[in-house]
Structure formats: C-alpha cells, structure tokens
C-alpha cells in the first residue's frame, strides 16, 4: 500500500458514496475483463499467423498433391482445392472472432477511461487506477 505524506492527506475529506463504490467496482470488473480479452486476442492472433503461413504454403504447393489438413487433433488427406476452401472458411471464422473480441476490448477501454476521469476528479491522489 502506498503511504501519503501528511500534507497530501487532505484528500480523505471526499467521502465515498454508493455511486462512487459502484464506479470503482465497475472499473475493477472492466479491468479484469479487459485483461482476459487481451489474452484471448493474443491466442487468436497466433492462430491467425499459423493459418496465414498455411495459405502461403498452399499457394506454393503442387496443386495435384494431396494436402494433410488438420481437423481437430488428426490430419486428413484431402485434395489441394478442398484444403484451400477449408482454409478460407477457417480463416473467415477466426477473423470474425478476432473482430468481436477486439470490439469488446475497445468498449472496455472506453468505459474505463470515462470512469477514470470521474474518479480521479473526485478522489485525486487518494485513489490509484493505473498499473
């Protein structure tokens, strides 16, 4: 915990109302939510990189050769065109998911910023909302 010097203590005259408490709660909730969304976005980005690598490989690969495409945990031998189609479908689904998560992340950040402004205005140094 951070100790304030006595001169900085005059801030404690700001009483914490129920609305303030709810704002603090919301901030905490959004913070936790944002962190877990960012983690999942990282994972999705890695998957996307992998799929992008695959699409490059498929472009270079021989079109007559069967392609081993991973479904679940096992690989299925399928003709090149089918693999390309399936890859497109998977990539589209992944991008849609990534978009959705990024949108919720920005929404969280926006709300957090608003709450920060209000809470810092009222409590000043008596509250800490940053990492």
């Amino acid at each position: 915990m951070r100790m304030l010097a006595q001169e900085e203590e005059h801030d404690d005259s700001a009483e914490v109302t129920w609305e303030d408490q709810q704002r603090i709660n919301s901030f905490s909730k959004l913070n936790t939510r944002l962190r877990s969304i960012e983690e999942s976005i990282q994972e999705l980005k890695q998957e996307k990189e992998a799929l992008d690598d695959i699409s490059m490989e498929l472009e270079l690969a021989d079109e007559d050769q069967p392609v081993m495409y991973r479904i679940g945990e096992a690989f299925v031998h399928m003709p090149h065109p089918r693999a390309v189609k399936r890859l497109e479908k998977d990539l589209a689904a992944l991008n849609a998911e990534l978009e959705k998560r990024s949108a919720s992340a920005s929404e969280c950040e926006k709300q957090m910023k608003e709450l920060k402004v209000i809470l810092y205005a009222k409590f000043g140094r008596a509250i800490n909302l940053d990492e």
Binding site: D12, Q21, G72, E73
Partner: protein, 218 residues
Amino acid sequence: MSTTFTENQERNPRGIPKAPFIADVAEFLGPDPNPENALKDFQAALAKYRYMDQNLTQRRRSLEDKIPDIKKTLSMVEFLQERREGKKALGGEEGTDDDDSDLEENDTSTKPLTTTFELNDTLYAEAQLEDTDTVYLWLGANVMLSYKIPAAVALLRSKLESAQNSLTTVVEDLEFLREQITIMEVNTARVYNWDVKRRRELREKSEAKDGAVEGKGS
C-alpha cells in the same frame, strides 16, 4: 457494531454473500468504535472471498481447456458427416449446386479417407477410414460409446453449449466476487484512514490540553 455482517446477507444466485457497503464510517462503527475488530472482520471476509475466487478461477481454467477439445472433436465429426452427405448427394442426384461435389468427383468417392493421426506424442501413423455411419465418443471415466454420426453431432453440440454456459456463469460469479472484494478493500482502507485520523485528533487534543494545563501551571 455489526461484527456478524456475513450472516443474513444478500447472496447472488450462486450463494456468494454480498459485501456490505459502508456509507459512513463513524456511523458503521457505532457509539463505541473498535476499528481493530472491524478490520479483523474485513480481513476474514476478504480471505473467504479470495478463497472462492481461487476455486472459481480453477474451474474456469478447466472449462477453458475442455471447450477447445470438444470443438476439435465436433469439427472432425462434422467433417465426416459432410463427406457422407456429399457422397449421398452424388449417388442420388445428377447435379447439385454444391461445388463441393465437383471436388468429390475428383476425389473418387469410393476411395477411403486417408488420415494421419496421433498415435502418441510426436508419433503419427497413417490410417484409412472406410465409409462409416458410426463414431465412437470418449465420455471420460474410461467409458466410450458408439453413436451414429447425427447423434454424435447432436451430443457434442449440446456438450459444447453446456460447457460454454457454465463458463459464462463462472465468469459472472468471478466478476461479482471481484466487486465484493473491491468493496471490502475500500471499506478496509476507509476504516483504517478514519482510525488514523481519529487517533491523530485525539493525540492533538490531549497535547493541546496538556499544553494548556502546563501553561496554567507555570
């Protein structure tokens, strides 16, 4: 003074008690304030909340591990189903508007499906799958059952849905818990600050009194 605020409290749908919000510290502590006891109670309640938080976080992690597994199994079974439907469409009709069937023709639908599957970690083997309408699903606890493909798809979908619903519930509970922990932490901070202020005021008052007494005496 309310030392037993953890009983007869409101609870959320899963039975997690709500933390009391202190509107006014002096009023909460009452006519005979005992901040040490209040702080002790808060710490005890915080410990309980943190323990619940740990449990829920564990459950959430295990659900988050299970869900991708179910998705993988489901996608494989759906793939098998698509293949069967593609073949049936070829056999029954002359032309379909599914361009997949064009690919199927090159695929020679009578050829079995070749897969490379994981025999062991880093060890893969090739297998040929014959056309089949049955799959076997591992249900855990050393139990495996055979299902027709549509039934397997239905079962996996329902498992996936219930896992996702549980995950949503657990996440909700975790957020609720986080709120209660925050409230308790804020309460602790305010009671502590109030106590520090009060002690300082008492000390200043008694010093002023001593000073006045000495002034009178000298």
